[in-house]
Subunit: 472 residues, 3 copies
């Protein structure tokens, strides 16, 4: 950055209105998308830590590297083909221009940034459900497929003017403002399919099919993830707004934020009290349940946060908190192992979010206009679209996981699953014991034995012998 | 988000100046408030981790859930009544419109968002002082009361045009730009009252009243909290600016940032060197002291950061660092147990911040105009307002804590305090030993015994027996 | 913040175009710099945690306090003299105005904020290379020198209109958009000089000069740092843009973001696969390598991210990931101990970034115009400038480290290095054992013995005896 830039900025500005003003408006909205998009990018950290805290210490490095890599693979694949499939004009099914962003018009650039982070979010959601047992290479493949193909095509349908769901029928087009179904629904459905193909972790269910808890190793990491996700998801909703030239634009953007935090609050508090007060549950004030309720609440108003009253947001979130508890219970009943409850959070929020949009939208919601045919048409189109999106997602991700399973690339060996993935696959235990000494303030620990066996690989033959040959 | 939005944004813009320009100005300031307000929202993470690192491991989940829940309860109560009491016109004492945000005019929405996060901040400050011994239900009540009633009314007095402190007297009105007294003072005073009613933690003072250190369990979490709080508090001050149509607006916003970091630097470095060099202190370079000095410094220029020179900011912060050391010493002398030093940071910053505003404000500061009657009047009004705010806060929060104490809802039992709150109340130990295995890279740990006792509740009868029945 | 401000904002706006519009443009760019600058400020947290996770537990508090203090010392010294040396007009070598920001014109304020965080970044880079053995006082001195003198003068040369590198020769001026050479190069070169003067940590190389791994103590902290750095570095590049009055400004800002994430992706993935597939390496999917590749990739497009195509960004990053592996290997061959690989990341990125700018810049890049004399001239001037900057940095920092070494202030004693710096120097073990109790959920731990030896100093005579008298 140089001062000369600043000088240019103050001197060069000419007075040729109105183009200058239109240009500024256009730049303001672009900057708004870039800055909020950057914050949404940071949300990847939230997923990473929510998940790192929720797995056992032996799989910590594994879950972290997955979350790092999916945002990077996502960037490359969404740049190469994903954006083109999603927003490259084309037909009602798929876009066909702007591969590698070639010939992309100006406004597309900040639009790309926001949509890339949305794609990465959809991919990240899955990592929780398949944690502690999926192979790393399998994860690389799946990240690329979801960000380059599965999610882009679903978003083409609903968010591109050429998409069949957006075109809709006279009187109705698909209404999912910031992705209850398109991001949380798609991610949650992939998570369900992945968890089904993988099967449960060793020891998750006993012989009679009763679940045993395999608690995560660090509650503070879960909380860190939860805080960052709340910050990121609210910003996510806010970032989906796209105008600044109307006198109600700033209030509408703020309303999105208000609705998001109220929905999150409703979800968290209902889940918290349900867990505490339900006679069959544990009678505890559970932080983990509270955080899941918070995320479910925010995710469930993605579809509607720009077009509902605050009281409706609170109500939608509260119901989402309740449905989360039910989903979470049902998933276990079906003996599906989802270490992060990602299905109960995101798929649930995707489905309920689209229903809620149809009910509480302040223009067409059935709650206000249950006698109005158009409102029923809108409801029907939303449900059809939701069904189409979830069917598309489960078919494509099912095929992908099937191929990975048949070729033996899906799941790690039992030996590695028991040892944990960090040492055999990644060579990096999360907390190498050799590195803990007088950090504990204990006198007897402080004399470091420099001849002791090092735990990280690459320079230590002895260590290599102890490490299962990387198979993944 | 759909591309059609982008298309609309570039096509629809008309040329009907000057309304279009005024609209854009208005939207720019709204967006500015929303984006900075979102970052201030993230500051909750900072409080959570500053506190989590500063308590013992057995109370980690407890302190984290408190920090999650207060921002959620705060959202609901500030939406329902808090904003109405604060900014709903009304009389000089209290606002009376906009309950549930009904009939709220456009500009109020982004204003609500910023003020909600300020309210949540005031509430969060208290959680440090009452840590490791307050009941969870008691905390729920107090969060709701402070964000719906105590803080809103104080802010009505000083920040609403109808409030008596803002109306002031001819020649003076209350000057607290971004809340030295209104946020840090109110939060710090509640913290003091709460700590007094609760009494010290078991083992904090010996029979002779000499303090024993009960160090927090993870210094890195304290540092994480400190970094996020510095980021959040500077943004907090910046977010309080409200104009973009003057040629000095951007420089003034930047000046607020500059003054904030310089004050923080002054506070941190003076506290750091005092601890290191004072002959009666421990001769160490203390990170924890440094972080507290940093927060105190920034908080003490909240009142004045828009109207002082940078050198004055550095000086105000430096003095704040010194007064922090004195307060911290005095609080212990009075045998008050404040696990986070929240009182010495925030109440101190609130009081000193208002004095400093009166001294160094570049328009009316006594340092520049100590012969000027108006400056003395301004000083007097600031002190009167400060006294009124602190009296209001201590009276109302005192009543609240008194009721909680008399009804037995205030403090956990000795048994639970000794065991720690995480397992009995929340059922979630922060670091369940069962979940640590080969994450440590130790061969002997890697064979997971799936029959081993699980530590999380709900699916394990044996575990339930070990856990004190939740009483809170 | 008061409502009256909002009222003013909507009422006062007049219609005197075009000044009003120019003012708004100017304020928008100012706000953009402040908000992105605040996010870049948050990047300090990233450095702190990348480093905290990469050292042994006994030096955790030490590395954290260094990262806190350098941003604070940086603020004071960049305010007092650094900005004046960098951007205070003056001659071709050094600026001479605006000490203490006196008489600074309006646009300078938001410009100061961004440049301060850049200076702090340059200083932070060094802390990794000198970790676990440098004295704290020595670190204070070095932070002040780099932010007040070494970095400001280099940036005056290249980024101030009076600087000799920016003035350049007819047809060429130095092109480093957001600091590949000026920030990463300067920081990385200081890191190299510091590591050379300090020598390796005890036990890093055996008698034959073969390296032994001294792994960091917490992989999740490294990952946290990596995520925050990615967020911060992309924002860093974005924040260097300085115009909003052209119709391509928003797309250009977004392009900077796109190029940054693609370069990071290229670097991370190439480093990841090289480590995994190279026959002489460990055959693991390494998270730490991946994160270093990510940072190297982003840093290497700082110079060019505003003027290259996305495919070039990906390629530049990919090559940076490869050169990182080579540098990392070479540094060890030369028996230089750099605990964070800071040299291989930042100095490497600085050098390669300037070469890449000369090759792929879409106006003058040699890749497109290898027959064009002006392009060769530009390449030559870039290389000359890079050489000058690195020479300046190594000479000045070499002198500084030499003085520190000769006066005995550079390195801690062997005794302290073995014990770790946290307890003797800072009195604050990162994880005091006394504070871990039933957080682990273990019954036998829960009875807290309040008479047990406290580990924190200041109130405990017994403890003091165990602690090496602070020497630093």
């Amino acid at each position: 950055m140089s001062t000369s830039g600043i000088l240019i900025a103050s001197n060069v500005t000419s007075t040729k209105n109105p183009w200058q003003l239109n240009t500024l408006e256009y730049n303001v909205i672009g900057i708004f998308h870039i800055v909020t998009g950057l914050i949404v990018f940071f949300m990847q950290t939230g997923f990473a830590f929510l998940e790192a805290g929720s797995v056992r210490s032996k799989n910590t490095t594994n879950i972290l590297i997955k979350n790092v890599v999916d945002m990077l693979i996502g960037a490359i694949s969404y740049w190469a083909v994903g954006y083109a499939f999603a927003f490259g004009d084309g037909n009602t099914f798929i876009g066909t221009k702007y591969f590698l962003l070639i010939n992309l018009p100006g406004p597309g650039y900040s639009f790309w940034w926001c949509n890339y982070v949305y794609a990465a979010t959809a991919a990240s959601i899955v990592s929780g459900a398949v944690a502690e047992r999926i192979k790393f290479t399998s994860y690389l493949v799946y990240s690329a497929v979801i960000t380059s193909f599965i999610y882009p095509i679903a978003s083409h349908w609903a968010w591109d003017p050429h998409g069949w769901l957006m075109i809709g029928v006279p009187g109705a087009s698909y209404q999912d403002f910031s992705g209850s179904s398109l991001i949380h629904g798609v991610g949650g459905m992939c998570a369900l399919i992945g968890a089904l193909f993988l099967g449960p972790r060793l020891g998750r269910f006993d012989k009679n099919g009763n679940p045993k808890n395999l608690p995560g190793h660090t509650v503070p990491f879960v909380a860190l993830g939860g805080f960052i996700l709340a910050f990121g998801l609210i910003t996510f909703n806010v970032s989906s707004y796209f105008r600044v030239n109307g006198s109600l634009d700033a209030p509408k953007i703020a309303l999105i934020g208000i609705n998001s935090i109220l929905a999150g609050s409703g979800g968290a508090i209902v889940a918290l009290f349900t867990k505490r007060l339900h006679p069959k549950l544990s009678n505890h004030w559970s932080l983990l349940t509270c955080i899941n309720g918070l995320i479910t609440g925010i995710a469930s108003v993605c579809a509607s946060c720009n077009s509902i009253y605050p009281w409706a947001a609170l109500l939608i979130g509260a119901i989402a908190g309740l449905t989360f508890m039910v989903w979470s219970w049902a998933i276990l009943k079906f003996r599906i192992d989802d270490p992060l409850d990602a299905i109960s959070v995101h798929l649930n929020a995707g489905i309920w979010g689209m229903i809620a949009q149809s009910l509480f939208n302040f223009k067409t919601g059935l709650f206000y206009r249950h006698m109005d045919k158009t409102s029923w048409l809108q409801f029907g189109w939303n449900m059809l679209g939701l069904l189409a999106i979830l069917t598309w997602t489960s078919a494509t991700s099912g095929l992908m996981f099937l191929i990975l399973k048949k070729t033996g690339y899906l799941r790690v060996s039992e030996e590695i699953e028991i040892k944990g993935l960090d040492v055999p696959i990644h060579g990096e235990p999360a907390y190498p014991r050799i590195s803990y000494g007088s950090g504990w303030g204990i006198e007897s620990d402080v004399e470091m034995d420099t001849s002791v066996l090092m735990l990280l690989p690459s320079d230590n033959e002895d260590n290599e012998a102890r490490v299962v040959k990387s198979q993944n």
